[in-house]
Subunit: 362 residues, 4 copies
């Protein structure tokens, strides 16, 4: 017999739409009107978290192949962009939830205790899948970040710390770039000259800026030395890896150089898609930053300076997490190492040739 | 024993996150990657539809009391605004779904047939709860709009046609406004004079506009007569109700006059909240219009000119529905009847006094 | 002497911020508070229109080279995406302007007459630069669309009708694609078979859909014949060009086939950027559609059914223009011609090879 | 002779559209393509800043009357909401500007030096008009925040520090609320009991939360004492004003109590509009926070860790300013003092009666 597909059944709406069980009316009391909004919003978050995990797993899977078929890079980019399209949705969901005023929330808040958003298994998995450094994790009231989870969920989250990550897969893919070694052409020496010129020009700006008093000029010149130091690590694998060991860099030295190359020569056809991918990863970081900030803001407005239902310090914790829980900080820093187009060393013809398509445009 | 509330259980995530069953892998095949997105997006739609129905029911309930306690009007407005905050979310969900390209969709589209978004029970209920005129309903391929629904769902939707609607509750609330009759002061006569002055000025614009050639001037002057006719119905309950019987007006004559009064004298304290409510209802109409347009656009991009999985004509149907399925068109028309502030008849002191708070501002 | 650049002077703020001259206070009267918003919003529109024209000119310039260096395609895409990023800004500007209520507008509206948004020189130039078909232009009250412009502006707009357009440049670029002729491999025959199979399956859906009564089934089967006809034109240059002469197609036959090829085989590296470009052009069309709709909606809310300051029929004109003034309709239709991935004819190895980069991924 | 108003002239487009003078082509060189975007975006910012100042001045003017006619409060709210509608526009403008990649910016960046966004006169005026505490101002590289401005602009900004502010006008308006003294009814004693009950319940949550280990429990209980202290200041004008002298509170004791009253009893008709106004002020703070964050993010992406054109430390400065430059922090804290609806002391009938309209709903 032929199966007749029906919208309601296909979408499992019997289960999905029965899963809003208001705690406020559990013991026979009147439901708190706004509790439905609270539940629906969180369920929608979790649906989208599932989708994000699905895309992350697919992308990590593709990037982990060696070599990655260039044909697949369009899809990798496309799926990362999809996550980026989901992110404003999550922020807007907080805007909807903000229509619940403090008084509305107090109508059912006590019944949620000690449940809390800190217990979102899937969000923790997303963070780990992206490649969040466990050492940068905020503690929750002095306890481990999995301490609020059920034993089973805590185990899954902890296991995920050692599973493949997007950052790791990206690193491996970048480090394999065949363009880091350019035969006879010493690209990096030429680039280093260009950077040095540019830094010197920046230093001149400080030295001659008529708007600066002497104290602040000296402060800036001192700060400048730090910048020069930072640049130096770019050409010194050992110092780079030291910074990495300290958690101040996440990408390997080779991967970072590859990312820099892609960023500088993004006009070459072979770098069009990779360059977009690097920008999209920055967008992803910004997107989760915006999500955490929106959460912090909601908590601030809704409970003010009170403690959260999970016994946490509320919005300040969330704001701090927004600042610390970034993954692709190295990619933000690519801008630091840009040089103006007309000062970029020109690629040798044979290298540039390799970065084109096989066909001739007509 | 104390119940320990846990996020996962409270939100019913066991059920919600198990309800994504991919048709593409039902018979043991590989899942189509994008089918999860398709399912998650539609489930999120249905969650928000449930929330919208919840708010609509509450608002209709409050507005249906006689009299409505003015204390409750803040909440009525607040809940309508919440729906309006949900609407951009729905539009953005289509933007996410648009990341599914035609080829991605074809990977599993055939397996959905004949399921279709036309089978969304909850969306049909929302339309009826708002007060969509059944006579304005688009047919689906010549059949009744409930013809794609299961027997049970069709029955629920049809029953909802005779249940209380937001439009109806609004009408009743407006018609009860105590300010329509102003004792000795003949407000409407004074207002009619003001309108007449304004119309005459508009006619002069046409008559003397140097940019118009004679043909288009005459066209416009003819069109003007229609406007004058329309104005006339405002002061003639019988003709108004004729238009209403033809479906060209939805609000009763008294309700419309009350809405107009609120709109013209919105600066009076007693009209602050009602005036916002009227504007929010227009926003709601626009919000659902945007939702339907976003749907049409998604369909256009994803299946082009092909027929939909439910056997419908696709995006053209949806665009036509966006244009026709409006509910609060009368409120848009309030602008037609505005007159400049300095030509508005002044309210008599005793009327104006009634529209203030009892306390004296200090 | 060294020039010291100052923010205010660099941005010409002396001129820009002095250019808000309120008509309402021109003759010494009190300014209408909301007139500043009206002016500022329109000036911001015109600033962004200038930016859009700047990007369009650059893109048309690049695409008009023969051949286009593939290195430049990243930039072409990037600039089109920038326009697409500007579009939501324009829509949001209408949302800001909607905070001006009908009464607020009436405070100064009469003084604007007969000035009107129809007189935006730059928006008309944008439409023509995109490639809007002059034959599809809405008349304004029976007059030519330039009839409201000053003589000088009308001349510039009319001249722009014969200047290079984005549509034209795209067509030329697509038509030069070297992949339309595949040596011995008869791609189009294989593709035609695949399409025929798919159409037949769609017909079966209609023929066997248990939800359809006989009348609507027959209607749909008839409609189906039209679809088959449409498909047929794809393989028949002559009939295609007939449709084009009637304005029902805009792209040349060759250009459309190239776009279809890119769309079907977008996974090939050489098609990554072109495929994004085609999707972005659809986004652009949608973006201007949204802009026009937002304008229509603003007018509807602000003046209702009254005539506009320029003597036009108001929101209905604008809604109709939103529907008619589309440029890249052919690209929407690409979805119509998609076939599932596993039914796509496989590209011969030598063709596929040409679509890759010269380097080998490692 | 009759003046014929023309769109282009009315909007001053001759001046506005001639004010984009590219520094990159000043000396006859090729223009840097992206410099136009840079200029247009900043000019659009300044147009909107002018509009925001216009609205702020109007609102401060109205709120500074004593008494404020309740009729005017609708307009006050409306104008604040308009600013709030402009804010997402400003954020989206940064998104447009982010399409300028680091390389694109370097094409003309050096020519801007030492001009900088820190020199936006109008943004500084906005901050002061809102009521930003001068003591909380970030220094710019150790110098006063006006040090980058021209002498004339610096003088205007410094003068604005002593002009009326929105915060000040709000404070005065709140402090005049006639509802703070309720005759015989000792509202604050009853409220204090309710708060004490609620705090004690929160303390129990901490004391009995099975998820807490002993160390973090003790931490939280200690933190709790701080909360209790904070609550205590609410009922002790002297300690409140001490906090205020330290900059930890901005509103006067009386104004804060009035705001709290409005917030707790927002359902009363007389509080509908004031309650919205308080929420909108929080939205405004959040909106400027989002603006500063978007700016920081743009700078981070575009120049990385380099110094800004104005010789500043770049994105870190901006992020810190986003956190510190808040004005309405007291209003965020209202949530801290909420109590559940069913524990709120009931208002005595005579008080409640004063908060209603004079007319009887029918």
């Amino acid at each position: 017999m032929q199966r007749v597909r029906y919208y309601w059944d296909y979408l499992g709406l019997d289960e999905v739409l029965a899963a809003q069980r208001l705690a406020s009316s559990e013991d026979g009391g009147d439901p708190a009107h706004d509790e439905l909004l609270f539940i629906v919003t969180h369920q929608a978050f979790e649906l989208w978290f599932k989708q994000i995990l699905w895309e992350l797993d697919a992308v990590i899977g593709t990037l982990s192949q060696a070599p990655v078929d260039e044909r697949d890079m369009g899809q990798v980019l496309h799926r990362l962009e999809r996550i980026n399209e989901i992110q404003p949705l999550l922020v807007q969901q907080f805007a909807v939830l903000e229509t619940m005023t403090p008084l509305d929330f107090l109508d059912f808040r006590d019944q949620l205790i000690p449940a809390s958003g800190f217990q979102s298994l899937q969000f923790r998995l997303i963070e780990n899948r992206l490649g969040l450094d466990p050492a940068k994790r905020m503690k929750i009231q002095g306890s481990h970040y999995t301490s609020r989870l059920s034993r089973e969920h805590a185990a899954r989250v902890e296991a995920s710390e050692s599973e493949p990550t997007l950052l790791g897969a990206l690193d491996a893919w970048l480090a394999r770039t065949p363009f880091l070694r350019f035969g006879a052409f010493d690209f990096w020496a030429a680039y280093r000259d260009a950077v040095t010129t540019m830094i010197e020009r920046d230093r001149q700006i400080v030295a001659t800026n008529a708007n600066l008093d002497e104290v602040s000029r000296q402060q800036q010149l001192d700060a400048f030395e730090t910048t020069v130091e930072t640049f130096a690590t770019l050409f010194d694998r050992e110092r780079w890896e030291q910074l990495r060991a300290q958690g101040r860099r996440r990408l390997s030295h080779e991967a970072f150089l590859a990312a820099l190359l892609i960023s500088l020569y993004r006009d070459e056809p072979a770098f069009h898609t990779p360059h977009r991918m690097l920008r999209t990863l920055v967008d992803l970081d910004i997107g989760f930053h915006a999500f955490r900030n929106a959460h912090a803001q909601l908590v601030h407005r809704t409970i003010g300076g009170r403690i959260g239902t999970g016994g946490t310090a509320g919005h300040e914790y969330l704001e701090a997490a927004a600042r610390r829980h970034r993954v692709f900080t190295d990619l933000f820093d690519l801008a630091t190492y840009s040089v103006p187009r007309d000062e970029l060393p020109e690629l040798p013809d044979d290298v540039r040739d390799q970065l084109r398509f096989r066909f001739q445009p007509s």
